[in-house]
């Protein structure tokens, strides 16, 4: 999943109406008219929301049938779910680490010396490092 795809999925899901539309479509295909029924909303307004969902790849619409039913596509949600879970895990893990470290610092006198750092050049020589968080690690699981 590309960055743009992930962002547009986030954007599409940001709106409660769109989430509700999606949840109904997960039960089966519906036309715009059917989707609009429970809402005090014009067909045009519902169409706008559907366009956002369609741009994000969350729904597809048949070109054949005259009523152009909307069809739920789950792939972007799965990808987003995995990514967000990783993002959250990265920060939770980091903040747990920070909590422990703060406890250490506040119970013992702080270390006077600055830990030695390896140079950027060394790290680059080892291999070309990839981007990391908000891209989190999937492999380890703690």
């Amino acid at each position: 999943m590309s960055s743009d795809a992930l962002s547009s999925t986030l954007f599409a899901l940001a709106d409660p109406t769109r989430r509700a539309l999606l949840a109904r479509l997960a039960h089966g295909d519906l036309s715009v008219k059917e989707l609009a029924q429970p809402y005090e909303m014009s067909l045009a307004a519902v169409s706008k929301h559907l366009k956002v969902l369609e741009s994000a790849g969350l729904i597809s619409r048949s070109r054949q049938a005259q009523w152009r039913p909307c069809h739920f596509e789950p792939a972007p949600l799965q990808a987003l779910s995995v990514w967000l879970e990783d993002y959250k895990r990265f920060w939770e893990r980091s903040l747990d680490g920070l909590t422990d470290y703060l406890k250490e610092l506040q119970t013992a006198p702080p270390e006077p010396s600055v830990p030695k750092r390896k140079s950027m050049r060394k790290a680059k020589r080892d291999k070309t490092p990839r981007r990391h968080p908000p891209r989190p690690m999937r492999k380890e699981s703690t």
Binding site: S7, F11, G28, D29, S81, D96, G97, K118, D126, R130
Partner: protein, 173 residues
């Protein structure tokens, strides 16, 4: 203690996390702005940070290499956007807002620190950048776009996926 994820609204897709640290604000600020401290916790237990160079001022760079417990290294370059000691720190990927080159969205992260008695309330707002998303927001004329907490999104994603799997045999309107 877990991270609480909040709901809010903004002009960009955001994730908000909050947490309370049992430490004075000045100390928590140091944890996020001094490389010797950042290197100790960033990534969490088992992670190392062989490179952490920070020039903590607006426009200053943060070059970071993190090593996972399995030895894999991840490099990032951030630039600090806003530095208001000891209450607000904002940084973003160096290519934030540009066409993303990597496989992951670039983001801007803003940490705010608030005093809560002897504790410090920490809040992180993550905004994701994307040309596509911005163009989309303009085109449809409303830019209120928030990502609800990832818990809720995950729940939604799982529920929707389960439903679609269950209904994939006999799809009826």
């Amino acid at each position: 203690m877990t991270v609480d994820i909040d709901t809010s609204s903004s002009t960009a897709p955001i994730i908000i996390m909050t947490r309370v640290f049992e430490a004075p604000r000045e100390l928590v600020w140091a944890m996020f702005t001094e490389p010797k401290h950042v290197a100790k916790w960033y990534g969490g237990r088992g992670f190392e940070n062989p490179v952490c160079e920070m020039d903590v001022r607006p426009g200053g760079l943060w070059r970071h290499v993190m090593r996972t417990p399995s030895g894999e290294e991840f490099a990032n370059e951030f630039v600090f956007v806003e530095v208001i000691k000891p209450e607000k720190l904002s940084w973003q990927h160096i290519d934030y807002g540009r066409e993303p080159s990597g496989a992951h969205p670039t983001s801007r992260m803003t940490v705010t620190l608030e005093e809560a008695g002897a504790n410090t309330r920490w809040r992180l707002v993550t905004e994701f950048s994307s040309f596509e998303e911005r163009a989309l927001a303009q085109r449809i004329g409303f830019a209120e776009a928030i990502a609800e907490g990832s818990d809720k999104l995950n729940a939604l994603a799982k529920a929707l996926y389960a439903q679609t799997q269950a209904s994939s045999v006999g799809r009826a309107p």
